[in-house]
């Protein structure tokens, strides 16, 4: 299998064409919008917590962009469903990268991380906790 087939392997294209958790949540408990101005990828993420105010009961995203950014965010939606806000707000990026499972160049890594970074911002904003240093590596992303 060559690099080209790996990057656009079937699972990536499937998530891109049939994104999981695509949509918005009215009156979401947590939400944030992220952009990658380098290529114009945009992702908005919405989270509804369960009764404990902690468990991610429902999570959705909307946006547009390249296949890698949209597929990675779609995979993320499945990964974090049912987990706690505290846990996800410090989720290691390697966990998502393993799930994506393709070699990424530094530029494309930013595409792949847009959803996770935006989700973390949403959770920190909702909890009133400061953004961790780890997010500082993504200066190019505009986080609203």
């Amino acid at each position: 299998m060559n690099e080209f087939d790996q990057m656009y392997r079937e699972v990536i294209l499937d998530h891109y064409k049939n994104p999981r958790g695509h949509g918005t949540i009215e009156g979401a408990d947590a939400e944030a919008e992220g952009q990658n101005p380098l290529c114009g990828d945009e992702v908005s993420i919405y989270v509804a917590f369960g009764e404990d105010g902690e468990t991610i009961d429902e999570v959705k995203f909307s946006g547009r962009g390249c296949a890698i950014s949209q597929a990675a965010t779609s995979m993320l939606m499945e990964m974090v469903q049912g987990r706690t806000a505290t846990e996800v707000s410090v989720l290691e990026k390697d966990e998502l990268l393993e799930e994506i499972g393709i070699p990424l160049t530094p530029v494309r890594l930013k595409c792949a991380m847009l959803g996770l970074t935006t989700l973390k911002v949403a959770l920190h904003k909702a909890k009133g906790t400061p953004l961790p240093q780890g997010l500082a590596g993504f200066d190019e992303l505009e986080l609203i």
């Binding site: 690099e3 656009y8 380098l38 945009e42 390249c66 296949a67």
Partner: protein, 415 residues
């Protein structure tokens, strides 16, 4: 070189052999380099000139009395003269070496703008500008309370000159700043006409020639502009050097941009006086080897012939537009081939430019995907990004064929 029917035709295949970059394969495929608008590849002649300078003539310029310092100074000043002749400037002291076209325009925006712009004044740029000729003006206008106005585009991606009277009513126009060729759409702008209009308004005209000077004859006296900026790395020269030409009447009246070593006449504890042109605007050690490389690049372009380069690229643009028009789901941006330089921007329906460019890369095709430092233009086109293929004197038709074949593979992946 045999000259038939008045004008020599460019032999791109022969010139290509001068560029070592093409001696490799990318992902096992021949390299189709279609991103010369971002930066051009380098001919061996230019690389050798820089190596020769470092190997035989290197020392700091202008100060030493020893032979190497004299050689280095002669090389730097020789390069300045080559730039002067290249843009047909009347006086070599009007050629200022800078890092790139962005720095050239910042020099004018700061040194001229801060002292000549104020509330009620208007700086006119266009929707087609590269950020290099947009952001400095927006920033300086904001600092002094002046306004920024944009000449809008027509549907074909050309400047809508019918908007000029309305813009003139908005305020006291002091600066008109436009590019000669758009780096995004390849549009060739009617600079002479805009210069006339600017001068009628009592404004200066600043021309960003970064995308035109590598590909067509730029004659600052024929243009009639007040300032012209060029960039070395886009015209077969090294990165880190560009040039600003300015009318000496302006340059003499302007404050310096950067201060420090070399740009002074005398320094005392209470007062410093500035050096003569061009040194007043060249603080610090000059990009010496880079300037020598730029001089060699100019020799190379002159030998190929700027008119022949321009004709070659327009032929390629027409060929590319013809072949790309048959690609399913394609949207092509910009004017018809006869009114554009060798730049073609496009989008493929439903496929993000990043994905298009990534899959093309796997087939050895290098194109640019993004906003091309033209976010106001992208907003106008209503897209986040485009794909852009751009050509130069070493581009051959097979590279465009490779692009079109590559797009078929893109469709296959996203089918």
């Amino acid at each position: 070189m045999a000259v038939a029917a008045g004008k020599a035709k460019l032999d791109a295949r022969a010139l290509r052999a001068d560029f070592p970059i093409f001696e490799q394969q990318i992902h096992g495929k021949p390299l189709a380099f279609l991103d010369s608008a971002a930066s051009s590849q380098k001919p061996r002649q230019m690389l050798e000139a820089m190596t020769e300078f470092y190997s035989t003539s290197y020392a700091n310029v202008h100060r030493g009395v020893y032979v190497l310092a004299e050689r280095a100074t002669a090389a730097l000043e020789g390069a300045r003269e080559k730039v002067r002749a290249f843009v047909n400037a009347p006086d070599v002291r009007e050629i200022i070496f800078v890092r790139n076209a962005t720095e050239a325009i910042n020099l004018v925006a700061y040194s001229w703008g801060l002292n000549n712009l104020g509330p009620g004044d208007l700086v006119v740029v266009t929707e087609l500008e590269h950020h290099s000729n947009f952001v400095p003006w927006q920033y300086i206008a904001g600092r002094v309370g002046a306004e920024l106005a944009l000449i809008p585009l027509t549907e074909e991606g050309e400047l809508d000159l019918s908007s000029l009277p309305e813009i003139a009513r908005k305020g006291n126009i002091k600066v008109v700043a436009t590019n000669q060729v758009s780096n995004s759409l390849g549009t060739i702008n009617p600079v002479e006409r805009l210069v006339t209009w600017a001068h009628e308004q009592g404004a200066i005209f600043v021309c960003d020639a970064a995308q035109s000077a590598p590909h067509m004859t730029v004659d600052v006296q024929a243009l009639g502009a007040d300032f012209v900026a060029i960039s070395g790395h886009k015209m077969c020269g090294p990165s880190g050097v560009g040039a600003l030409w300015g009318r000496s009447e302006h340059l003499l009246a302007m404050e310096p941009f950067l201060t420090g070593g070399h740009m002074i006449s005398s320094v005392r504890a209470d007062k410093t006086t500035w050096g003569e042109l061009p040194h007043k605007f060249e603080a610090g050690t000059a990009p010496m080897a880079e300037a020598v490389g730029l001089g060699a690049a100019i020799d190379y372009l002159n030998a190929a012939g700027l008119d022949a380069i321009h004709d070659h690229e327009q032929e390629l643009a027409a060929y590319a537009l013809g072949r790309l028009a048959d690609v399913p789901g394609i949207t092509l941006y910009g004017p018809p081939a006869e009114r554009r330089a060798g730049i073609v921007s496009f989008n493929i329906e439903g496929i993000h430019p990043h994905d298009v460019a990534q899959i093309l890369d796997m087939q050895g095709v290098a194109i640019r995907a993004g906003h091309h430092c033209c976010q106001p233009l992208m907003q106008k086109l209503g897209v986040a990004a485009t794909n852009r293929a751009s050509f130069y004197l070493y581009t051959v038709r097979e590279e465009i064929d490779q692009l079109v074949d590559g797009l078929a593979a893109v469709h296959k992946v996203f089918a």
